[in-house]
Amino acid sequence: MRKASLVILLALVLGGVPAAALRGGVQAATDESLFREVKLLVFDKSWPAALDKIDELIEKFPSSPLAGQALFYKGECLSGLGGREKEALKAYKSYIRLEDAKPSLVEESEGSIIDLAFDLYEGGNSSALEDIESRLGHANKVVRYYAAYKLSFVSDKKEAAKAAPVLERIVETEKDPELLDRARIALLRVSPERLMSAEQRAPRTGTTARMLRIRIRAAGEREPAFEINIPFALADLALGALDEEDKAALRKKGYDINRILNELSRSKERILRIAGDDGSVIEIWID
């Protein structure tokens, strides 16, 4: 009973099926009912059952527009199942070639293709990377950005460096702080020097081009156990990402991230030194 009501709900509310189509003939009702079931099963992550319904839909109604739409959900099912990445990739690629493909689902498909290609590459299929690299020049910036971001994680640093031009562009032009921070970290990963030149070319504020440095030394050690030089724009994030033990030492001394940032920005002293009880020393300063 609950399931049946959900099917109706998804058909009318979530299905996105035009009302005119709902008033169609017997065949329309049937391929639509199958399609509704597919969506419900996908919603519940019942991948094998959803795949069966998709196959049934395509087999019984090969000329239905919904058979084409079902390709996207086939991709979702296959990637959700795991181990069938190549089939999933094929389904998504088939979907984005459809003339009546929906823009929102095309964008989703492109993102899924990038994810799947990354997984295949990391699993040893070196040619899979082509699917990511070819999207670095995609007309849709959402796809282009995501391809560059994902490529920055590739273990082969030479390949990862191909993402740098797009990431630089994001650092220089993007206004969304979330995307901006992600691009900064990704560029820091693949090419710190290019991040530095991008920040210097397009400084957003007086502090953007400045550098935050953190050193943590164990008691009696000269060489730091931890050190970073990063754009000041990532200061808040960097302090939040400190090791839990270091954060605990800071808290014990009455410091939290906000206080540190306030002191750094207000103080005329260029360095903030915090000594832990165990003799360790945390140094934070801005250049």
């Binding site: 609950r2 009501s5 959900l6 109706i8 709900l9 998804l10 009318l12 509310v13 979530l14 299905g15 996105g16 996908v42 919603f43 992550k45 929906k102 929102s104 689902l105 964008e107 989703e108 993102g111 994810d115 959402v142 995501y146 971001y149 994680f153 979330e178 995307l179 921070d181 992600r182 970290i185 820091l188 990963r189 710190p192 020097e193 991040l195 530095m196 550098m211 440095r213 050193r215 008691a219 009696g220 000269r222 730091p224 931890f226 050190e227 970073i228 030089n229 990063i230 754009p231 990532l234 994030l237 960097a238 939040g240 990402a241 400190l242 090791d243 360095i271 003799g279 140094e283 300063w285």
Partner: protein, 239 residues
């Protein structure tokens, strides 16, 4: 007299004591050691005495006020003090070298640098914050659907659809970090909400209030808003 300085075991012992004392100063320990090692403690007292004598000489002895006249002789008479003075000079230089700026590896001074581990932690921290933001915005979209069910459409369907698309885009970036154990609960919830937004993103037309009410009961049945609040609390506490 000069021989007396060179052979003075008292002066050397004094110098060693100074070295020990300075060696215990944590902040400058290694710098002082290097500086101390570079000094010839056997000959330094005599060098100081020689220089003091040469600079001030007899003229000084004649012209200085009577009270200061005897200072060089204090050094001459007390080799231990000469050793101490030498130690203080070296210590001061070492202190200056140590405190003029943080001791950092010079090769990384002018370049950005962060280890892979740190970048992974930064990504995780970014994901934590952005997941919080994602869940908060998801709540707004769902609450808008709820309100629309009661009072009719508040936000135009096209705008709701656009918001859903934005959230779908954000979710893509979160996926990698949501895969970690610490974010497992958030992942399950975000995946569930994602499917809902995938459908909402395709609905450009206004939905009848009755259908919105059905959607609300669907979300309520699964207690999605409650789950969102719980996961938000966890993420806010830094889990």
């Amino acid at each position: 007299m000069r021989d007396a300085f060179e052979k003075s075991s008292a002066g050397q012992a004094e110098a060693e004591a100074v070295e020990r004392l300075l060696g215990e100063t944590e902040a400058v320990r290694s710098e002082i050691r290097r500086a101390a090692a570079s000094v010839d403690w056997e000959t330094l007292p005599s060098v100081i005495a020689d220089r003091a004598m040469a600079e001030r000489g007899g003229a000084l002895a004649r012209s200085v006020t009577p009270g200061l006249r005897g200072w060089p002789f204090v050094f001459l008479m007390k080799p231990a003090l000469a050793g101490l003075a030498a130690g203080l000079v070296v210590g001061a230089v070492a202190m200056y070298l140590a405190l003029r700026g943080p001791a950092v590896p010079q090769n990384r001074d002018d370049a950005y640098y962060a280890s892979g581990d740190f970048l992974d932690r930064a990504e995780l921290e970014l994901a934590r914050r952005n997941t919080l933001d994602y869940l908060e915005k998801s709540q707004y979209v769902l609450l808008d659907v709820f309100e629309s069910a009661d009072r009719g459409a508040i936000v135009p369907a096209a705008l709701r659809s656009e918001r859903a698309r934005d959230l779908l885009q954000k979710k893509k970036y979160l996926n990698a970090q949501l895969g970690t154990v610490r974010m497992a609960k958030a992942k399950a919830l975000c995946d569930q909400i994602e499917m809902l937004f995938l459908e909402l993103a395709q609905v450009d037309e206004e939905l009848p209030a009755a259908e919105l009410a059905k959607l609300r009961s669907y979300v309520e049945e699964r207690q999605l808003l409650l789950k969102i609040n719980l996961v938000r609390k966890e993420l806010e506490s830094g889990v």
